[in-house]
């Protein structure tokens, strides 16, 4: 059994709510889900790195918003949005997300259009 330590972090409120639902449905804890996903990320990253393959790092940088789609596609040798989407799906990495405040502001803009 691996030794565990506590740490403090922050997480999107809505994401945590959804994670709790999944945990309840699968009879486990959010902590167990978090550990499984973090392990997947770490092991995938390390496995790619050990073979000199930087693709996962590129995709992770893109997912975290540190690399533009253009730069990511260039580094990966692909030239289409769909291929990037598929590689992200295969890597189990989320597409980059704008902050909730920006997304909510865009939702409000759309609501204004519909009520005008």
């Amino acid at each position: 059994m691996a030794r565990t330590v506590n740490f403090t972090g922050s997480v999107d409120r809505e994401l945590l709510k959804r994670a709790k639902v999944i945990a309840a449905k699968t009879d486990t804890s959010v902590n167990a889900l978090f550990n499984a996903e973090l392990r997947h990320l770490v092991e995938t990253f390390e496995a790619a790195e050990s073979t000199g393959n930087q693709n996962f790092k590129v995709l992770l940088d893109f997912s975290l918003g540190r690399l533009t789609d253009e730069k990511a596609m260039q580094a990966l040798g692909i030239d289409g949005d769909e291929d990037l989407f598929l590689l992200m799906a295969q890597a189990h990495l989320p597409m980059p997300r704008l902050p909730d405040a920006i997304t909510n502001s865009m939702v409000n803009q759309l609501n204004t259009l519909l009520t005008d």
Binding site: G65, D81, E82, M88, A89, R97, V107, N111
Partner: protein, 174 residues
């Protein structure tokens, strides 16, 4: 080309691909706005054989989506007659920028919503006229959910990711 009912909705390639994977392209019609496609965007999503290219081409034809012609795409076609076309990653965005400008210069200007994936919006490479709005696919789906057009925006995104994973295991074997 002007929208029939006042507001035009023009998706970029990313939202089209996401919605195609989620099998939810018709969601674009739910607000009742005139859905249009920019010629270079349609070209981008159909030029290569991909898991969604046929579906997108068939959908655009079946629902008779108006296609906005741009000088950008025309220039590319003319250039291709002289020499083999070089792949331009930002061709669709150039054509969208041209369309935004054309809409803004109309009298009266056309009100338009342009849909992009989050990362394209983050790049902030567009000069967006006052009558045009740059909206993310996620914001559009949340808007549809809030308006009661769909039950769950997260469910649409989940379907796209799941379908993408199913396809990616075929297209990109480890």
């Amino acid at each position: 080309m002007s929208p029939l009912n006042g507001i035009a909705l023009l998706p970029d390639s990313g939202p089209l691909i996401t919605l195609a994977y989620a099998d939810a392209l018709d969601l674009l019609f739910l607000p009742g706005w005139q859905v249009m496609l920019v010629d270079a965007v349609l070209h981008e999503v159909t030029r290569n054989q991909t898991p969604t290219s046929d579906k997108l081409a068939a959908w655009a034809t079946a629902v008779q989506i108006p296609v906005v012609s741009t000088n950008t795409f025309e220039h590319l076609k003319q250039a291709a007659l002289v020499s083999p076309p070089k792949r331009r990653r930002n061709l669709g965005e150039l054509a969208i920028q041209e369309t935004m400008s054309a809409f803004a210069l109309k009298v009266p200007p056309t009100t338009a919503v342009f849909l992009f994936e989050d990362h394209k919006i983050a790049r902030a490479s567009f000069l967006v006229p006052d009558t045009c709005q740059k909206i993310s696919t996620r914001a559009f789906l949340i808007f549809l959910e809030q308006r009661g057009f769909i039950d769950s925006s997260a469910e649409i995104e989940r379907r796209a990711i799941k379908a993408g994973r199913d396809f990616s295991s075929l297209r990109f074997p480890p």
